[in-house]
Symmetry: C2
């Protein structure tokens, strides 16, 4: 996942604790149905089995690999087996990045191997090792402040350590270093970049994640050290003698691949062309099996949609569950989805978009970006979610990464904020595996997504449209 | 470390809480000195700095590598810098085992990589991958019960999961599988062995450790899966179709290497030829930096010896701190030490041998194997240790792995039992790094070793000799 980039701009008016049908467009039967969905999910949902299936049978599924195609086939078959009314694929194109071998070692008197992993999008070392002195910086500002040319032929190391927070806000400065550090280092003449892993753990398992080269720099290889290895590099640098590291990385981007967003729908009974979307991303990084990032999101939202599909009476609007392609390398699935809706004139049909992409921890807050006139519906949904330990938080939050592109076109959104306290222990590492996922926590999330999607699809209230944001550069 | 293989046979007589000088050979000044050592260590010892130095400057130090030689030079210099009276090396020979590359992957419809590491002593796959069907066994008994020839051409997988206990007793059955599983599998015709890691963690970091081939079998490659990968293999096997795995391992034993036990002594003031030994092992596995296994033991006992060396008046007997060579691959250092003492007729000079080789967790018990007449001394030492949260436990315990060989020759021993609750989370993995070591916990251990070594060296009581054990086959 990526961090929130927008907050709901307007503070929202206070609402009455007892909500009228006229304001919420929901009657007592609707609320009973939502509560029943909630309780059914808590008794045991399909989410864990879905996560188990994806992570076991497909395993790692780096976008653009043969496993990507297996994941798409898996998702289509899973939607069908779970009784969705309509299952279809939409193409998503992107450049193909591949990781080959990757090795690093200290050379000289303190010779020893270092655990690294190339950042997604990085080039390699050009078929031979890069051996160079390491120059350390505390953070991106320090790197930017280095004199022009001062890193000529050196390996820049940025040791910024992210903080652990429930809402994950410590991640943002780390991910910025990961994304732009190589370009900043290259501007100073560096031959390579090493960063401390953008993670809160202390395991010898480095965190990958996407990076990009600015147009004005010659690419240099970029990799993350595991946190213990970053500690080690910092200790070695305190030995007051030059630290030379040898990097041998095989990686690069070549060619284009067409993957697919995989979509399953529960058709609305009255307004089938109006949609509430929930989903997660189908791809993962290659190091782990993508259990928390993001098989959990796929499993939670598939299970929630399937529960709604089992109702005797479908909700008014269509519930669309989306397994997005290639989120990790640049939100390609979310962008393609939004672009296709824009081309088809369907953006206005989007009543609410929500996404699960922050691991497998329990949900603690409901947030939303909707027309202020529709806030009573959100408040009503919040009342049904309250027994799950979920607070309704007006005026804060953001859409998820893959929902972001259609929200930028004006679509309303909801966020079910998860406890991400341990998310960055495993995120983008080999340790992102099924054992990190708790089935009961998934059930709580399925309950929340089922309630949200059902009531948002059932209400007669329109969630409106948000201001259109200018496209990112 | 390896687990206790012997227990003190005789239950020891109860002792009076108030101990007479005649029984303990220790006067009030001696006890004051011991208490002062304890308090000084608790205020901050040298142990963490020693561990930091060894793990940072030498890093991984697999026996027989160039890092082994660096570790020996490091230990000699460190003893000298810490003011030991006499520092010397004793040769230790052993065969050289080397790890090259190691890769494993599931082939077929669920293709994905698996995290493995070759067991120490294993052969490789002969320069080309071994691709074979996996046959699973719950434990060693199940493997032994397989019909002759039933594993022809297959890879045997043993899924035994060790239990977490403070005293580490869950390790023993797992280490037995690791040591002898390949021979058992080979007897059934298997082409390779995979085991679940002998560890209590859930990280994608497999646990290595020593194995041996029985004389009557043709060697087959043997490796451990990380625990999450073992889970994955077990899930894949439940898919009710054959599971084929490709192993590509480069490893083997060739040639002989001469390393050294590195010894530092604080010379006794009255009986310099009588010795109390404490120590840890200098070598480590290659995957981590051997911080808990066993830089901690080296650091704790070096720091304890150095504290005793700083006393205005040395204890009666010599305190000998031993950094043993190549414990990991077969207690070579401990065996060489015992053999040299036997050859020199010095076994009887050993009053007490103790060893720190169970990580960096706090000490909770004092145990000993001594002549029953000397038990009051142990009880007295226990009284000085009690403020450290250490209980005296008569009639139980065992010598450490490297002390074992000289104990088998009759030397008395003491054990300072550590809390190993998390030891097998990191043991023999890449995760055995300095960040797993707590400086305050080390200080508690330094306090305990300093008290034990000082009082055992100071007492006028003789600890006697134990029954000689027959040599292991």
């Amino acid at each position: 996942m990526r961090l929130p980039i927008s907050l709901l701009a307007a503070a929202l008016a206070a609402f009455l604790p007892s909500l009228a049908v006229a304001q919420t467009g929901l009657d007592a039967d609707d609320l009973d149905t939502a509560a029943a969905l909630r309780e059914q999910a808590l008794r045991g949902s399909a989410a864990w089995a879905v996560v188990e299936s994806l992570t076991t049978e497909v395993g790692p599924r780096l976008a653009g690999t043969e496993a990507d195609a297996r994941a798409v086939a898996w998702a289509k078959a899973k939607f069908e087996a779970m009784g969705f009314d309509k299952v279809y694929l939409e193409p998503v194109s992107f450049p193909v990045w591949r990781r080959g071998h990757e090795r690093a070692e200290v050379v000289g008197p303190f010779a020893q191997p270092l655990a690294i992993t190339a950042l997604g999008g990085s080039i390699g070392t050009g078929g031979r090792p890069l051996e160079a002195e390491v120059v350390a910086f505390a953070d991106l500002a320090a790197l930017k402040a280095a004199p022009e040319g001062s890193l000529a032929g050196k390996i820049a190391y940025v040791g910024y350590r992210i903080e652990r927070h429930r809402d994950g806000h410590g991640y943002s400065p780390g991910s910025t270093i990961r994304a732009s550090g190589a370009s900043e280092a290259a501007r100073k003449g560096a031959a390579g970049l090493l960063i401390r892993s953008v993670g809160t753990d202390s395991d010898r398992l480095p965190h990958t994640g996407v990076m990009r080269y600015a147009a004005d720099v010659a690419p240099i290889p970029a990799a993350a050290l595991s946190n213990p290895d970053a500690d080690q590099v910092e200790r070695l640098l305190r030995r007051d003698q030059p630290l030379t590291v040898r990097l041998d990385i095989e990686a690069g981007t070549q060619g284009e691949y067409v993957s697919h967003n995989v979509i399953g729908e529960i058709r609305g009974r009255e307004l089938p062309d109006e949609v509430v979307t929930i989903g997660g991303h189908l791809d993962s990084w290659d190091l782990g099996t993508g259990a928390i990032d993001d098989a959990s999101g796929v499993g939670i939202t598939m299970a929630a949609g399937a529960l709604i599909g089992e109702l005797k009476r479908a909700p008014r609007r269509t519930v669309r569950v989306i397994a997005y392609a290639n989120e990790e390398q640049g939100l390609f699935g979310g962008k393609a989805y939004a672009a296709a809706r824009l081309a088809a004139g369907e953006v206005g049909a989007h009543q609410i978009g929500a996404e699960s992409d922050f691991g497998a921890g329990k949900i603690y807050a409901l947030r939303a970006g909707v027309d202020p006139a529709a806030w009573p519906v959100i408040a009503q949904i919040g009342e049904v979610l309250a027994p799950l330990g979920i607070a309704t938080e007006p005026g804060v939050g953001s859409a998820g990464p893959d929902v972001g592109p259609i929200v930028a076109l004006g679509a309303p959104w909801a966020q079910l904020a998860q406890d991400g306290s341990d998310y960055f222990d495993y995120h983008h590492t080999a340790n992102d595996t099924l054992d990190k996922v708790d089935a009961k926590a998934l059930d709580q999330q399925v309950a929340a997504y089922a309630v949200l999607a059902y009531l948002a699809a059932e209400t007669t209230v329109d969630f409106g449209q948000l201001p259109v944001k200018p496209a990112a550069p």
